[in-house]
């Protein structure tokens, strides 16, 4: 088909469009997150000793770290859905923040007198369950961000998909914090780190496949 006819066809079938704005996308995501967290807590899935847990530094460490990672990941992803924006700087910041979170966890562990029997502390049966639960809880956010990415025009698909994966993973882990009974920083760093890493990798691979344009 010659370009002239293509232009004629595109102009003839033109309909008004609703402009994409990052702020509207952010509001939709916030609503999705609030609904998921609300349902999770209403179903009684939260830990029963949450009042006691809130007295522990490790509880706040994982909650705040994951909230910040989810926020930064989502902001990086949403920004990168604009064709003229790149997710690279945001991804670097996410890497720095994740490293800082692990460093703080290590400090809390050292102050806690950690360093006991590592295999026992790792408690791999519960750890695998934690990873599975985190992955399931990250699905709504991954789907939501994936749909927004499809509607956007990311020009660095791999970078945007990685930001989506990281945001979804951090959000899933953040919601799971309200259920997870483990407060050992070593356990949290290993299993939450592995869980987030695997979900982020899956997001990076799957989301970039379905968002070609």
């Amino acid at each position: 088909m010659p370009s002239e006819r293509l232009i004629e066809d595109l102009a003839a079938g033109l309909v008004p469009v609703r402009r994409r704005t990052a702020s509207r996308d952010a509001m939709l995501l916030a609503l999705l997150g609030a609904v998921e967290l609300g349902l999770f807590l209403l179903m009684g899935a939260g830990r029963h000793d949450i009042m006691l847990a809130m007295l522990l530094p490790s509880f706040w460490w994982k909650l705040v770290s994951l909230a910040l990672l989810a926020l930064l990941g989502a902001a990086t992803a949403l920004r990168s859905f604009d064709p003229a924006a790149s997710p690279r700087r945001g991804l670097r910041w996410i890497g720095c923040l994740a490293g800082l979170a692990l460093l703080i966890g290590w400090a809390i562990d050292a102050g806690h007198g950690g360093g006991g029997d590592l295999a026992r502390r790792l408690d791999w049966r519960h750890g695998v369950y934690c990873m599975f639960a985190m992955a399931v809880l990250s699905i709504p956010m991954l789907i939501g961000l994936g749909l927004l990415m499809r509607r956007g025009a990311p020009t660095d698909r791999a970078g945007s998909a990685l930001a989506v994966g990281l945001a979804g993973a951090a959000w899933g882990a953040f919601v799971f914090v309200f259920q997870c009974p483990h407060d050992d920083p070593f356990y949290i760093a290993i299993w939450f780190g592995l869980g987030c890493g695997l979900v982020a990798l899956a997001g990076r691979l799957l989301v970039s496949l379905v968002t070609r344009w």
Binding site: M1, S3, A11, D82, A84, A153
Partner: protein, 179 residues
């Protein structure tokens, strides 16, 4: 592209987002000319028209992502560059036909310019990758002929083309787009 063009194109796109077909027809016509120049400097001549049409369709499908409060040119350049990278990747997947000895060409200017730009890009690759891409994708040799000319095995030629085009895409993505 003059600054006036970019400002005017932004206004035309804003009108098109509201459903103004006349403004949109004019915008796409002017963008087509710009895109032909853009891709003629960056792709082999046989790929230019396909790349232009792909980009026009992409502009149409993603027109809601343009924010009229911001300049039009970076948005357009980003979409065009994305499609350029796509086209380079596609070149890696397409079977290359052997070229006949004599082909009538109206003007060599675009071909020479694109060859200079592509040559500059190929200089950023490993010599074996650049040579494989130059012979098979730009000069029309078959994989077997390129293998015989370079001493690389046929499978290594294919691997070098695949990796080289991937590396080219990374180079383009990380470089500022100078028009």
């Amino acid at each position: 592209m003059r600054v006036d063009d970019a400002d005017e194109w932004g206004a035309l796109m804003a009108a098109a987002q509201g459903g103004h077909g006349g403004a949109y027809r004019r915008l796409l016509g002017e963008l087509r000319e710009w895109l032909v120049r853009y891709f003629a400097r960056r792709l082999p001549q046989g790929s230019v028209d396909d790349a232009v049409q792909d980009t026009l369709i992409a502009i149409h499908e993603k027109r809601h992502t343009y924010d009229p409060a911001r300049p039009f040119r970076p948005w357009l350049a980003a979409v065009a560059r994305y499609k350029w990278i796509d086209r380079l990747r596609a070149m890696g997947r397409e079977r290359t036909e052997e070229l006949p000895e004599a082909i009538g060409v109206a003007s060599h200017e675009a071909a020479v310019t694109s060859a200079v730009v592509l040559g500059g890009l190929l200089d950023r690759l490993k010599p074996a990758q650049a040579e494989a891409i130059r012979l098979v994708k730009l000069q029309g040799f078959s994989v077997e002929e390129a293998s015989a000319r370079t001493g690389q095995s046929a499978s290594l030629i294919k691997v070098n083309i695949h990796r080289g085009l991937g590396r080219l895409a990374d180079v383009i993505r990380s470089a500022p787009d100078a028009e």
